[in-house]
Symmetry: C2
Subunit: 236 residues, 2 copies
Amino acid sequence: MKHLDVCLTPDLLHLHKLDNSIVVVADIFRATSCMVTGLAYGVKSITPVATIEECKLLQDRGFIAAAERDAHKVEGFDLDNSPFSYMNERLIGSEIAMTTTNGTLSIAKARASAVKVMVGAFLNLGALANHLKSEQYDVLVLCAGWKGRPNLEDTLFAGALAEALKDQFMLREDGTLMAQRLYNQSRENLLASVSNSSHVRRLQRLGIHKDIAYCLQTDLYDVVPVLRGTTLVAMN
Amino acid sequence: MKHLDVCLTPDLLHLHKLDNSIVVVADIFRATSCMVTGLAYGVKSITPVATIEECKLLQDRGFIAAAERDAHKVEGFDLDNSPFSYMNERLIGSEIAMTTTNGTLSIAKARASAVKVMVGAFLNLGALANHLKSEQYDVLVLCAGWKGRPNLEDTLFAGALAEALKDQFMLREDGTLMAQRLYNQSRENLLASVSNSSHVRRLQRLGIHKDIAYCLQTDLYDVVPVLRGTTLVAMN
């Protein structure tokens, strides 16, 4: 039987063997929710990069560039880190380069050793789960967290994916068990559940209520983003 | 107001600033439960060391030596890692050297930068909480985990301590919030709650049910172990 495991932050990724695993990266507020949204709305590809410098280089080469640090858009770039910015007709067919505080760094880390890297969010939970059932590989859910620390919303997503896959995968580790319990405890009202989390407090200071509520919606899209080389595309 | 934070594994300790913090190390199954028990039963001091070699050196210098790796007693040492082994008249007044897979390593890591290092277990939860209220410092609960990974029982303890201190300390981070929720969800029956955790499965294969049930009892002892130099003693 295949295994599913959860890594609560990229700072613990070194503890996981990935040579038979698909890594699903989750940065619910807001990088992977943006990626899912963008690809669902017709963006051609999203190239996640770890640094602002790399993002700038791709911008100079014609990419539409999105750079976020500490929840703010970095000056000189085209897009911020709100999923609503990705519902834009002018982005259809475009190539986007993206760097964020946590999410793109996690993708860069996972790429080094995983069989495949996919991107998850509540927005594409069901489609992603269905796809993972059809794969022969183990799954590691990599929570992007916040600057190396675990966070609530990514852990809840990991729990949700574990719940969706518990009949097809062995769930053996305590990180998975804890994520599942936290999710099951609050699945009826995720928005209330995250209201006192640290990241929601940070985002609320920025007035991004709308983003938070949006990112906690389940199964809006069927898109499954997968990394091909260095670029995320929607899996056919 | 003072802060309380939780570090889910020693592999994340680098993310925490400790220069105004007391670190409470918890390795519920079983190192810190042994330490609390031993000091409560009249052991004079316990010197935690990170390696088997250091433990052997102290044994050669006359310490009673306890060494555990992967839940097993290491050959050539005097004591195993069962709290019942510490309820022994011949240990009264003795000096013990101890190395374990996770707990003593966490103490060694914390010692490098914390204001003080204390040892916590469900067995001394109330006494420890009362003492921490009287201190002027912030608190970091360091869960020993399992080989760098978070585990359920240490996280539950962190949640229990956070609950006990929530009126006196600010609890701001998601790690703390998650630990509290997991604890509150299962506080009425901790034993059932840990029954499918990875470490309990490991220990049950060794037939240590009795140890598990014992380590989940709350407030058996008033002892508060504190590190003085390199040695744990009961705080007066």
